[in-house]
Symmetry: C2
Amino acid sequence: MKIHQITIKDIARELGVSVSTVSRALKDHPDISPQTKQLVRDMVDKMKYKPNAIALSLRNRRTNIIGVIVPEIVHHFFSSVISGIDEAAVAAGYNVMFFQSNESYEREIMNIQSIINSQADGVLISLAKGTKKFGHIRQLIDNNVPLVFFDRACDEIETDRVIVDDFEGAFNAVDYLIKTGCRRIAHFAGPQHLQISYLRKRGYISALEKNGLKVDDELIVTCDTFEEAQEITRLVMSRNRPPDAIFTVNDMTAVGTLNTMKSMGYKVPKDISIVGFTDGLVSTITDPLLTTVSQHGFEIGKKATEILIKRINDECESASPITEVVKTDLVVRDSTRKL
Amino acid sequence: MKIHQITIKDIARELGVSVSTVSRALKDHPDISPQTKQLVRDMVDKMKYKPNAIALSLRNRRTNIIGVIVPEIVHHFFSSVISGIDEAAVAAGYNVMFFQSNESYEREIMNIQSIINSQADGVLISLAKGTKKFGHIRQLIDNNVPLVFFDRACDEIETDRVIVDDFEGAFNAVDYLIKTGCRRIAHFAGPQHLQISYLRKRGYISALEKNGLKVDDELIVTCDTFEEAQEITRLVMSRNRPPDAIFTVNDMTAVGTLNTMKSMGYKVPKDISIVGFTDGLVSTITDPLLTTVSQHGFEIGKKATEILIKRINDECESASPITEVVKTDLVVRDSTRKL
């Protein structure tokens, strides 16, 4: 018979409070009320909870390594985030190990296991597209490993996060297109279960509505890669009433769209305006240069790392999870008509 | 007084053989002659060598993790290598942790330490530009951690390596330029203490000589980044006898050159041909598309990983170090005149 080892999870469940409340109560954290602390201590006695000595000793041994999980290392946006993480970590004397989930839930679990085995002092994660369950993430919280989400977070886990204002970024891009005279604006959208794709589409719709333009479902197409854009662009332009602008969910899709437009004989931006989202390296290489929403990947990586290091050193002012929203900027280059 | 612990390094020194010979003799490897094995065993007895029990037990515990050190994660060439490593590792059931040295010797040492602490089963390294001493690499060999170099190797360490045929790649690119009628071909070169830069320059010179063209030192300029190319291109084109073609040491330099030529009013390839080296993503985005030398980064990463995994599992046919040279291909696109 396997004996069930009592964990702080059991105590939290029994008391109907969060795991982090129990964890902080046990550490005598000032944010937790004396009443709650007493309740937790009583429950600890009642349930005969013993902190896992091995886990504790491992936790106390610093490795000065931060573990990072990104969906893709080779990616226009995550590349910038990685640079930001690396700079902030090295400045604070930490080394960084990067893992890639390749958008797979199974690999994310494997990565978490590798990070726990490596005894990293803290973890930064941007969730894989395939991740819809979060037990492996909870495992980190239960093991008291500080964790900060960047870009792709989930609401079910109470922890720090640094995210992008995707809604506003999309809104501003589409609002700008309208101001330059575009009236039939298409959106090449990402998968809608991903919050970032969902919010970008909402921003697009909201900008149309605010400007009194009709939302035409025919102009909203799922298309979020360079390859798909080559096919979808031809399809969309062959319709009866083709668009006069396209707002894409990311830069690579915009580049695929731009190249296809050119090869079809359209002049960009004279015939059609194109706006991307990312502001990666490619947007400074295309001809014409790409107008895009800068999501400041470097800043995101840097901020997430700074928060994580504060958590590792118990230097955060508040024990409550921090949500930091990084504002976007519209970078107007040459793929859109001028105001 | 610190007692000096006898290591296999001491035994190797005493016998005047390599550390890997001693290591393999102790493992009774078939490649080592019975005579040598006897010599090693005698010296072990004489010097009272005891294998480090902790190290041995750590070595025998598999983590199924491969540690990878690259100079830059965010890099047109290493990005492809990373994809190749990842694919081969995952196919064989290994997880991969990536570290970046940022071209710094000190960070490379830190990375090696992190990898040893994490007990990775094996290591893949491409050396930093700043690395000119190799004690930290020897530490891996002494700890019996299998190690494979990719792209940037050093001759002082006897171990497996997967490298690019840089000389031939450069030779073929310049030979092609000459065949299309170019006669004043400039070379934007990398730092010459780096073997890959040195070999590419040698290939350039050799192609000129083979075709009976004079090597003009004025046409060989150190310039190996996107930013530098913007300045150097103006400089080179302002000379009395400007070149009719430029062969750059990497793609990003080629893109910087191309953009600057266009902004100066030159038509590419009518006025001047440009050839890069890498065949990264950017070469398929520029206008005109870039002619470049494909160094097959994905293949390099994949092969290096496959060799490493064979070493980890003791499945290599030969205990002697393997050198695998990956051939390049000239990818002719639109930035060069046609034959």
